[in-house]
Symmetry: C2
Subunit: 154 residues, 2 copies
Amino acid sequence: MGKEIERKFLVTSDAWRSEGQSSLLRQGYISAEPGRIVRVRIDGDHGCITIKGMASGASCGEWEYPVPLQDAAELLDQVCEKPLIEKYRHRIARDGVLWEVDEFLGENAGLVVAEIELESEEQSFVHPDWLGEEVTEDRRYANASLIRKPFSQW
Amino acid sequence: MGKEIERKFLVTSDAWRSEGQSSLLRQGYISAEPGRIVRVRIDGDHGCITIKGMASGASCGEWEYPVPLQDAAELLDQVCEKPLIEKYRHRIARDGVLWEVDEFLGENAGLVVAEIELESEEQSFVHPDWLGEEVTEDRRYANASLIRKPFSQW
């Protein structure tokens, strides 16, 4: 088991756009139930399945396995709940940490969040100027929630 | 994607016990929802995750991945719905096909079913003397159903 410690924030400006590298992610959920999340993701030409256990604060048990791209595509099309999540992920390395800014498409268009993965819950980090309110524990922003109640319906 | 074509039968006697090889299976479900089954299984010292899509008759899309034994044990203990399924699987090769006779333990003790995996839905096979009523399409006998309504509560 890996342990994922992740904090999530809203984004207050487009200032982050001048930095980093971007890829298109397509992902869906075989199970979107909190504590038993099963996610299928295609990032570029890589497929993976990720299982997430019960979250406690910003921490969550996580098990991740690469799968053939074709399998990931079949699972997204044939098994995952619809709609799928599509988003651009912009990876921005600064001040010794990696920010992932997710810009959602489709029914979640307009939503932009920034995530940072930490080594411990106590780890401090520099807040970029464009960083807004923290929403780590607000379940509405979980991708598994956004397939059931997308941002356009808030 | 693999395609699993499987038929399931009740067992009318213990005559099968003189044949075959046996192992203890321990398995659980991260998702037990028909069409989106996610199963974790330990068979001896092998762990695997299996995803099963929507069934149509005796056929079902299936995607299976080996995972480290420790991961499988963690997923069973920390993520899967309880109770888990424990059963002896007896593998019996005869008349050119492989029968798997599952003898359930715990809350499903007393239930014994025989399964055969086929190349096509039309494939014929010799019915052993100990084979009883077919229950392929009876969802009560699905392992994912037996965790919610175990045999002892029928």
